[in-house]
Symmetry: C2
Amino acid sequence: MARNIERMRAKAAGLRVGLRPHVKTAKCLEVIERMTGGLRGPVTVSTLREAERLAEAGYTDIVYAVGLTPNKFDRARALRRDGVDLKVILDSAETAAALAGSGSADDSPVPVLIEIDSDGHRAGVKPHDGALLGAIADRLTGGACLAGVLTHAGESYSARSDEALRDFATLERDGAVAAAETLRALGHGAEIVSIGSTPSVLFSEDMSGVTEARAGVYVFFDLVMAGIGVCAVDDIALSVLASVNTVQAERGRYVVDAGWTAMSRDRGTASQPVDQGYGLVCDLEGNVYPDLIMTEANQEHGAIALRPGSTAELPKLAVGDLVRILPNHACATGSQHEAYLVTDEARAAVVDRWLRFGGW
Amino acid sequence: MARNIERMRAKAAGLRVGLRPHVKTAKCLEVIERMTGGLRGPVTVSTLREAERLAEAGYTDIVYAVGLTPNKFDRARALRRDGVDLKVILDSAETAAALAGSGSADDSPVPVLIEIDSDGHRAGVKPHDGALLGAIADRLTGGACLAGVLTHAGESYSARSDEALRDFATLERDGAVAAAETLRALGHGAEIVSIGSTPSVLFSEDMSGVTEARAGVYVFFDLVMAGIGVCAVDDIALSVLASVNTVQAERGRYVVDAGWTAMSRDRGTASQPVDQGYGLVCDLEGNVYPDLIMTEANQEHGAIALRPGSTAELPKLAVGDLVRILPNHACATGSQHEAYLVTDEARAAVVDRWLRFGGW
């Protein structure tokens, strides 16, 4: 984990862009402290609960990067009254008008980043839709003010080559910068230009016009990231420890006491060239067993077996043997657990236990 | 929920079989109290953590229905020393011998149910494998003793007709009873004959030879259960409340603030005749919007749109509107949350908040 954090820090520094780590993967104060270099610097959150937990821990520069809805205006303003510089995102003139008209005279205006759709992934305003950008910006008066633009190239997770990853990085940057320039041409200030996803930041070669990069999953990495070439399997810093509880030699498999409650149901590698099932199996020290994957997941049971078509030999395991299972998606597997057991570098000893937070 | 609990209670009473509710779906003391009729009667757990939480709450008759591994012997014995009649399951002579040889002279023997594989679903001894049944039973001396047999027809979740469900119920009962009789013929006592899954219990017509039935998901039901005909959609007692945060009329969809962290990644209806995506969308009162399903799930975002091929009309929703989303799999969706918000029967008011417990 420490190596992954340093890699992203150095990458952002090299691109001369601010780094605003996303806390949604880790949801853990000890991890976030390391992601921010101990400085309680800028962070990104995906829920107001995350923002509230970070505010309690002394973080004051927070972007809430999921479209704000009217039923959350009060909680967002409460955070700002408590001294947090919370910035929010939205992508419609209706929400902008509603936010502008909310709050009391004593409240400071809520800074808004207009969400930009740089790759057709999910939500946001098209970068060149000057009419809508202008309509939103025009409404950000009174209880709200325009602070800039934000985009997330979520489609970059489906990239299949270094070139495609570089293209997504360019697409994301160009979309955000174009939207900011459109707003400026209309006479609006758009100070913050925020972009990011782990793949697009790590494959970016030029961040001109961008003020900050957001990324989260890099802290642990996972099999999906390894599958698109953003990290090596050996960089994955999160695993689930499981015990063999049934040996089924005649079926060429073992049953272990980790199911979807431990791994999640995420099958993010199913559409990749190498399907890792519900996870790739390692020994206790983290050495990968060739082609050994979790092929089935029930609530508290998993089946581990060789990947279909494998010519590798099934390792000899006995009831009670421990294995580590690397996750498809670190965010999803992490969210199934209430704490991380922290190991030393050799993964030989547990040296600490760090609580996660959840909820909304 | 109250209606679902009463339905299962009446069914077990009619079959003259004991009911041992499985707590893995709800993981919530207030729900479990209602499943056991306020009597703190027999319960089934899927983790030792569940057993420990129930023991603290005064439950003393607990079956831990996931194969025991040697690294859990100490915790199992600790529960028994605290006055809990904890029964465990295993399916190998090796584990039986290890358990028999563990513990101290002061410990009472751990009662063991031999896990029986009635339908090829996952783990267990084949019902007619007298050699293995005998070998396990022979080893259950000293620190362990034979208490009976247990099976779970997990394949019943894939049934597609009432007849198939009745067949699974028969298969499950016949397998468990045959294994118990095999053990008795070998001179072993096999007092407890434990079977169960929600579909097989609700479709059972004869429990002769069975002493107890286990079931869990019936407490909430879900779209998978509705899809196989075990309940109606209107019986589903669990939903996720979400807000619309982006209207995408041109794409025929809405984005809501509930993603896989709220629904889980379970796609259990994908293999059923009607694929419900990540969930079926209702209004706040629980009235289903025809064909409106969650078609995509990101971490904190979901897309809701009409089912492919639907001729229904997309309902008019606006930013901030609230919808309820019914889950594919109640166990999986429940496990994404730290508490249940309890509504009145009209789903109009939240009347209580009940905490869940998790972990292992």
